[in-house]
């Protein structure tokens, strides 16, 4: 195909057919402001903030959706284009709440940034100020909070929920001035078919959808002298929190993260990777048990709470296929209030467990009635990566320049297999390393399964071929699950991660949370694994000791009691 030649701001540019004006402009270093546009979603063209002028026709074109055509002469800087962009932002602000100072997205709001960049003044905002909307807040939680009055109708959340997650838990309702993005009958997200994955919160340009914040509760616990506050950090955090402190995506800051947590006053600092190893042992043995009994296959992984809630709403008939192994977060918290409390001689009632997660669904998981096996609510608070970064910034710690410390020792040894839990395909690889060795004694090489979309693999272990699928993004998961339901596939193992790319792309991760960042974070986790001396969960010495001293046998007595859970069907 011939390239298309056009002129943008007096510069000639040649682009491939199908290139939009926005992309063409970026190729020559011209940045056009956008709001409804998102690089990972379908094109929408609703906000008109990216309009440019077609010099020949004098028309304004939405550059994010209009494709470049031969001979076009475009001006992004003409008075016409510049004033139209500014006017469109002013109109968006006409019914937008004026409470930026106390908004959760203050400082990370794209509408705020664009208002500033385009030089919109107080007078401009007040000129169009009109009737304000009065939609109810959804603060029911426990994962997500909606403030529809801050919605600018860009539709990013609607697109990510429908296109990527296949759910459409939120959609446009009403018409004209009363148009709004909401749930059916404005029901709380926790009561509808929503996975709590938080992908909507990561694409929302304003404060209309955010996580339910638990920062104040954690400060209170840290400042309470009677509480022994134990923190766990999910594998994906070490490869993403650096972005909040100006480091490039994919910078590994494990040691600095540990130092920062100690500086904040946490009494015990651990990694969830310890119980990721434990999950592998339990889930691995469960897999072996089901293969040998030829029952409830395929087994489906259970570490992702967004996937669990989705399955409970949409595939209640397949719940028996889910592994009963708890997620690493819940295994850790349960052990913190039992095994760990015993080892350090602290009353479990005084232990307050905090987990740092790349995830909003973990907040929902924490509150599940099933997770009280320690005799208390197992996990007391869940902070997203963003919330922890806010705490670190609040007390003026510059994470990027800290020295490095190690995790505490009792539950501190970690395998590389556990690290890659944070990326799609990682749980499967970690499990297979262990399952293959348990069954044959032969080591397994790295599979290099790839990280995007549907992936299937066949693995031979002890003369039998196992068929395996790894999916991330719930719309991708639905494709595989529909085959399981219809009986048209012959799989033995399915790994499901609700968020695209797995936890590295979770709903609690630093913004922007686009494909580019997710890929770099995933690569960082893989490289940590490659450099670890222990790369198999069953070789983690602290795990062996845990079974010897406390749990007994995998799947057996105490392990069964403390490390496994059950699921409940929920309405669609």
């Amino acid at each position: 195909m011939n390239k298309i030649a056009l002129t943008i701001d007096d510069q000639r540019v040649e682009v491939e057919p199908g290139t939009t004006l926005l992309e063409a402009a970026r190729q020559i270093g011209i940045e056009i402001p956008t709001l409804c546009y998102h690089p990972d979603l379908s094109l929408h063209g609703s906000c008109r903030v990216c309009v440019v002028e077609d010099v020949n026709t004098k028309r304004l074109l939405a550059s994010c959706v209009v494709e470049a055509a031969e001979g076009m002469v475009i001006s992004t800087r003409s008075s016409h284009a510049r004033r139209a962009r500014r006017r469109n932002v002013e109109l968006l602000l006409a019914n937008h709440p004026n409470d930026c100072l106390s908004c959760e997205r203050n400082g990370s709001c794209e509408l705020q940034e664009i208002t500033h960049k385009l030089g919109v003044t107080k007078e401009d905002v007040e000129r169009f100020r009109g009737k304000q909307r009065d939609f109810p807040l959804d603060e029911r939680g426990p994962a997500l909070r909606r403030e529809p009055n801050k919605c600018i109708l860009c539709g990013r959340c609607v697109r990510v929920c429908e296109e990527v997650q296949g759910l459409a838990a939120v959609d446009f309702a009403g018409r004209g001035f009363n148009s709004i993005v909401t749930t059916a009958f404005d029901l709380p997200l926790s009561e509808i078919n929503c996975a709590s994955c938080g992908q909507c919160a990561t694409v929302c340009p304003t404060g209309a959808i955010t996580e339910v914040r638990e920062v104040d509760a954690v400060w209170r616990a840290l400042e309470d002298e009677d509480k022994f506050v134990v923190v766990q950090t999910a594998p994906a955090i070490q490869a993403s929190i650096g972005e909040e402190f100006g480091l490039p995506a994919g910078t590994v800051v494990t040691g600095k993260l540990v130092t920062a947590l100690r500086m904040l006053g946490f009494d015990g600092v651990f990694s969830t990777e310890f119980t990721a190893d434990l999950t592998i042992i339990e889930e691995g043995w469960e897999f072996i048990d089901r293969i040998q009994g030829n029952k409830r296959l395929p087994i489906i992984t259970s570490c992702c709470p967004g996937w669990i809630k989705y399955a409970e709403h949409n595939y209640p008939d397949l719940l028996e296929h889910l592994s009963t192994a708890k997620s690493p977060q819940q295994m850790f918290s349960t052990l913190a209030k039992t095994y760990y409390a015993e080892r350090i001689g602290v009353d479990p009632e005084k232990i307050y467990t905090v987990s740092i997660m790349p995830c909003t669904a973990k907040k929902f998981e924490k509150n599940r009635i099933e997770h009280r096996d320690s005799g208390f609510q197992d996990t007391d608070a869940v902070l997203t990566t963003r919330e922890l970064a806010d705490m670190i910034k609040e007390v003026g710690i510059d994470l990027a320049h800290l020295h490095e410390e190690d995790y505490d020792s009792i539950m501190g040894s970690l395998s590389g297999a556990a690290t890659i839990f944070g990326t799609t395909g990682g749980v499967t690889e970690a499990a297979l390393r262990t399952v293959k060795e348990l069954l044959t004694g032969e080591p397994l090489d790295r599979l290099n399964l790839g990280i995007l979309g549907n992936r299937e693999a066949e693995v031979e272990i002890a003369g039998r071929t196992y068929r395996i699928a790894m999916v991330s993004g719930l719309a991708n998961a639905a494709e595989v699950l529909n085959q399981v339901r219809a009986g048209t596939c012959d799989l033995d193992w399915i790994e499901v991660m609700a968020c695209p790319h797995g936890c590295v792309g979770g709903g609690g991760q630093p913004l922007p949370n686009s494909r580019e960042q997710k890929e770099k974070r995933a690569q960082a986790l893989a490289s940590i694994d490659e450099h670890k001396s222990i790369r198999k969960s069953h070789e983690n010495p602290a795990i062996k000791k845990l079974y010897e001293d406390f749990l007994g046998e995998p799947l057996g007595g105490r392990a069964h009691e403390l490390l496994h859970t059950s699921y409940q069907a929920r309405p669609r």
């Binding site: 838990a169 309702a173 018409r175 009958f185």
Partner: protein, 172 residues
């Protein structure tokens, strides 16, 4: 028509029976959503939450999407409607000849605002842009009857004629 609260499973099943009859007439495909909603509204008088949820499940589309369609079209109502629907014309001719006064008189008489329904489900009050009877301005419609050249006192007499009519069961 049974209890819509859903606490009693068989009650809900009974309540949804008229909807099941509507659904049986159409293939379970998204493109039949609007005619299904029209027929369901015909059966229930409005579109209750339980009905929209069941439509979503049967057509395999999201509940929020069904709600989005139902709230987009003014023909659909998510609240129960009165036995008598009053449409007050507020078009240009009616406006200059006192539609505002007429509307205010009806609001006072019924104790509800435009867009609302009386608690006894007797009257629903709405405004419309023009009903094409400008020669009769100011004009209102009650159900299929047209009443023209109204004043704030004569409209009360008109309303009296619709009160205390015991004929015809409550729709919903």
């Amino acid at each position: 028509m049974g209890c819509p609260c859903g606490h009693d499973g068989s009650g809900l099943e009974r309540y949804l029976q008229p909807l099941q009859e509507v659904l049986a007439k159409y293939p379970s495909e998204e493109r039949y959503l609007v005619p299904i909603l029209q027929d369901a509204q015909e059966a229930y008088g409005y579109l209750p939450q339980e009905v929209l949820r069941e439509v979503a499940v049967k057509l395999n589309i999201s509940f929020s999407k069904v709600y989005g369609v139902a709230t987009f079209y003014t023909q659909f109502h998510l609240q129960p409607r009165g036995k008598n629907v009053i449409k007050v014309c507020t078009g240009t001719a009616c406006h200059v000849r006192g539609a505002g006064e007429v509307l205010k008189a009806i609001e006072e008489e019924l104790g509800i605002q435009s867009g609302q329904t009386t608690p006894d489900l007797e009257f629903t009050l709405e405004t419309v842009a023009c009903i094409g009877a400008c020669g009769l301005a100011p004009v209102i419609m009650i159900n299929d009857d047209t009443h023209g050249r109204l004043t704030k006192s004569s409209v009360k007499t008109v309303l009296e004629g619709y009160k205390n009519q015991s004929g015809g069961g409550v729709v919903a």
